[in-house]
Amino acid sequence: MAEDGALRAAWRTPRGRAGLGFLTFLCLLALLGPRLLPDPFRQFGIVELQSARPSAEHPFGTDQLSRDVLSRVVTGARVSLAVAAIAVALSATLGAAVGLVAGYLGGAVDAVLMRLVDGALAVPRLFLLMLVLAVPTRVPLLALILLIGATGWFGTSRMIRAEVLRLREETYVRAAEALGASRRRIIFRHLLVNTTGPLLVAATLGVGDVILLEAGLSFLGLGVQPPTPSWGGMIFDARPVLESAPWVGIFPGVMITLTVLATNLVGDALRDALDPRGA
């Protein structure tokens, strides 16, 4: 099945439409929002506008440094989405490559790769990341993204491998071999395109995971470093004023929830659209 067909089928379901709609809105917001809103770093008045209630001027209120929470949430969307998109693209690429090679070549290559993946899956991802991120005092954003991406492909590789084990028994793979197609060609042409469906589902669900993970890391102070706004970091910063000025933490929290929910809705809708057993 063609993947654009799957996206269209996902759009036809209510949850797919809700999820895709919200994500589209979020992307537009992240792209255009910062141009229309006040500077997220600007302090509007350290005394009179410290932790100010939501108002017409500052719809989401201000934080304890008198910065506009709405601006920071929108700029945070930019950071969160960029982190998620790049990290997931990296994970999907690594996972697909390892899964394809292990599944098609089989034998010792498969055994070694899959035992390594087993080992990696046995260590909690958050723990692994904390271990690495806690050592240097400042972690550049790009390094954070690459680390998140490099630790997110283990499950994907297993899934792709399972898919390849099924696909390689297909006659067209045998036919391609009989034609003299090289291994590389069979793996990256015949097999890869036939795994794009499950890969797309895994990547979509992975976006939600990464947003949560990045928020968690930032909340622990190990993720995106201040003053760059990120949703997790904003909740972390809001802790001391959470009782007196809950809006400082609630809005980024709501955004995390909605975004993760939306990606999961899209992922589920795609999965149903691509599952030949359904419908």
Partner: protein
């Protein structure tokens, strides 16, 4: 006649769970000359498809071709090749068509893409030229409006159309041998005849050798020059087609003929061969057809070798003694 394929004492074995090995193909020998059609006939599980896969070293692991076997493509010793040289003979020297055209084409690529891919796997030509060759091949296999069909996806094509595209793919690198493994089994009878006609015409025009693998004696009659009947991993009888149809001699071949309905003559009950084909793990000692053979006698406990029945006619059966030459 130029010999293009020479298979000698081919044995293929698979391991069993207790550590021994069984041989689904056990001592198969045949040759193929330029421009000739050899039919390999047998029931499911007799080893005919495995034999054809072995020609390109595509026996699925953990199966292997046993030492002592010989496969020569012209002057090339196929069993001595590895890696890139092995890849280069696949499709280039020997093209293969599979049974089910519904699953032999990759569903996500167009027909033209897949033919062009086969062209470019072996010939150094530009993409545009590969596409032009693909179009010419489609024309050659009798597809109407070939230029338009290039951009069709497999699901938009009928079974007969897809099998023609498979043939075009197999022919893309201009191999000297075409192996057709049950090319018409999945097709309607009318389409079957068309496909066989295409194969026959290509053989004549290109001087290719064709190895036609089938379970259908009816297909063999009009198309093959010679017939080899396989049973339980061995060729049990081999003769020219005319000779085999005139004087089928092996009890298994006789059984096959008796189980085919005839249009002429009085209507009578078909005679099936009693029993079933034993699995390759449980082949009997001596003659493998012995437990099912109506004419078995004491000597059949010894395995018979290929014995002459007449000119160009051999069989693995002790009954040939006395009949031969």
């Amino acid at each position: 006649m130029t010999r293009v394929l020479d298979v000698r004492d081919l044995r293929i074995s698979f391991p069993t769970s207790d550590g021994s090995r069984f041989h689904p193909v056990d001592g198969v020998s045949f040759t193929l000359d330029r421009g000739e059609t050899l039919a390999l006939v047998g029931e499911s599980g007799c080893g005919k498809s495995l034999t054809s896969l072995a020609l390109l070293r595509l026996v699925p692991p953990p199966g292997r071709i046993d030492p002592g076997s010989g496969i020569r493509l012209g002057e090339t010793d196929v069993l001595a090749l590895e890696g890139e040289p092995l890849r280069q003979i696949r499709g280039r020297r020997l093209g293969m068509i599979f049974q089910d055209p519904m699953t032999s084409l990759n569903p996500v690529f167009t027909a033209g893409d897949q033919i062009a891919e086969a062209v470019r796997a072996h010939l150094r030509v530009s993409k545009a030229e590969a596409r032009e060759r693909a179009r010419a091949l489609l024309q050659e296999v009798g597809i109407p409006d070939p230029a338009a069909r290039l951009d069709a996806y497999p699901h938009q094509l009928s079974g007969g159309m897809r099998q023609r595209i498979m043939i075009a793919i197999a022919l893309a690198a201009e191999p000297e041998i075409l192996v057709a493994d049950e090319p018409t089994t999945a097709l309607d009878v009318t389409v079957q005849a068309q496909i066989l006609e295409v194969l026959d015409e290509l053989r004549r025009r290109r001087g290719m050798a064709v190895l036609l693998i089938t379970h259908d004696l009816g297909i063999v009659a009009g198309r093959a020059d010679r017939v080899a009947v396989m049973y339980a991993g061995q060729i049990v009888e081999e003769a020219t087609t005319a000779e085999l149809f005139a004087r089928p001699s092996h009890p298994y071949t006789l059984g096959l003929f008796a189980s085919v309905p005839r249009i002429t003559g009085p209507v009578q009950r078909l005679t099936p061969i009693r029993g079933t084909v034993p699995p390759p793990t449980a082949w009997p000692d001596g003659c493998r057809f012995r437990p099912r053979c109506p004419q078995a006698f004491a000597k059949c406990e010894q395995p018979p070798g290929p014995l002459p029945v007449g000119p160009d006619h051999r069989m693995r059966c002790w009954l040939a003694e006395g009949k031969g030459a």
